[in-house]
């Protein structure tokens, strides 16, 4: 059964995405020393396949950094990049233009990987800190888990976590991006809260009653 939420509750989830990504954008701006912008968050309650479609379909090649949310409101946070965007982020962080995740022979560059994981740590950390402060619910990111593969294969890890309870994912989707149009970095945050976490969040901000 699809969860039913009131307009106020959906607005609250959108605001949560806003607060989290706003804080993450500030961190990103410090990290690359550039102005960073964000989109208005989208909140979607979608079937699992539709959640994967938001990322461009099950076979789309993506760079994913995944964090399990530890604390009182479990869930999963993902940061998604394209390989080019991740390369660009690593280059700007390390100030070396030739730094790439993979070399010409497709071998992994360990330094670039760990720089990217560290960026993920900082961004997800500031995202969850903002949520935690706003709701007064303790939420901590796990260590970052980085993988580059098909979007469906990577997102399903978070979907499996909620799948014993529901057939729908609440996706709070926000993009942050620097203003660079040629070497732009678009980073997509996906927050997949567990069903019980959503009611905890609503309780914490006093809107658990339906309209």
């Amino acid at each position: 059964m699809k969860e039913q939420y009131s307009q106020i509750q959906l607005d609250a989830l959108r605001e949560i995405g806003n607060i989290g990504a706003g804080n993450a954008a500030t961190s990103m701006s410090k990290l690359i020393n550039k102005k960073v912008d964000m989109t208005v968050p989208k909140v979607e309650i979608v079937a699992f396949d539709e959640a994967v479609e938001i990322l461009g379909g099950p076979e789309k090649l993506v760079v994913a950094i995944m964090f399990q949310i530890q604390g009182e409101a479990p869930g999963t946070v993902y940061l998604f990049f394209s390989i080019d965007e991740a390369d660009s982020l690593v280059q700007q962080m390390t100030m070396s233009d030739d730094m790439k995740l993979f070399d010409e022979q497709e071998n992994i560059n360990e330094i670039a990987f760990s720089a990217l994981q560290e960026a993920g740590n900082i961004l997800a950390g500031s995202y969850l800190t903002a949520l935690s402060d706003f709701t007064n619910i303790n939420m901590q990111p796990s260590i970052p888990h980085l993988s580059i593969d098909m979007a469906g294969a990577l997102l399903s890890v978070g979907l499996i976590e909620i799948s014993t309870i529901t057939d729908y994912a609440i996706v709070i989707d926000t993009k942050i991006n620097d203003m660079d149009t040629t070497n732009g970095i678009n980073s997509q945050f996906f927050l997949l809260p567990a069903v019980e976490s959503v009611s905890k969040i609503f309780n914490a901000i006093g809107i658990n009653e339906y309209e």
Binding site: M1, A47, F48, D49, V52, G57, P58, E59, L61, M66, E106, I143, H145, L146, S147, D149, M150, A151, G152, A153, L154, S156, V157, L159, I160, E161, S163, T164, I165, T166, D167
Partner: protein, 168 residues
């Protein structure tokens, strides 16, 4: 749109299942720790595929759920439909499967993280119970897979991003 001379492709989503006969081909995309299991009868040229997320429906906290989500309910459901609607007998079925990868490397080895492995084990156990032989499988590792099965030839085509394409 798709060319009619090409085989039409029936897509199976996450936690879903379906059955095809030629000229149709059945596909599921982006398998990670999920398992794609195919039950087929080559002489009858019919094949069912399920995209399984979890090993055991006893873990379900819902009253109503997609049968394709769990290994046990997915395989039962395929057997039922293959038997009732296609007249396929369980003893003439063979199986192939792919998926069950570990997409992220975790330092801890708790059960939630071994889900791919557990899915594979569950499918093996259930198929053994029904005496359905697993003719070929490509499971484990750490890469995503898209699979196509052709009920006419019994070929399972597996595509990955880093290791290209194989047929089993």
């Amino acid at each position: 749109m798709s060319n009619t001379s090409q085989s039409p492709i029936v897509k199976v989503g996450i936690a879903d299942l379906n059955i095809v006969t030629p000229p149709q081909i059945i596909r599921t995309s982006g398998l990670g720790s999920c398992v794609g299991v195919i039950l087929y009868d080559l002489p009858k040229k019919v094949a069912g595929l399920a995209h399984i997320m979890l090993p055991d429906s006893n873990h379900a906290k819902q009253k109503k759920f997609n049968k394709g989500k769990y290994a046990d309910t997915a395989i039962e459901s395929l057997l039922e439909t293959l038997g009732n609607e296609y007249g396929v007998r369980t003893y003439s079925l063979k199986a192939k499967m792919a998926g069950g990868a570990q997409m992220f490397q975790f330092s801890s080895s708790n059960d939630v993280m071994r889900i791919g492995e557990r899915n594979v084990e569950a499918v093996e156990t259930i198929l053994k119970k029904h005496k359905i032989p697993i003719v070929a499988s490509d499971v484990g590792g750490n890469c995503g897979r898209t699979i196509d099965f052709d009920p006419k030839t019994g070929d399972l085509r597996i595509r990955t991003i880093s290791k290209g394409e194989t047929i089993i």
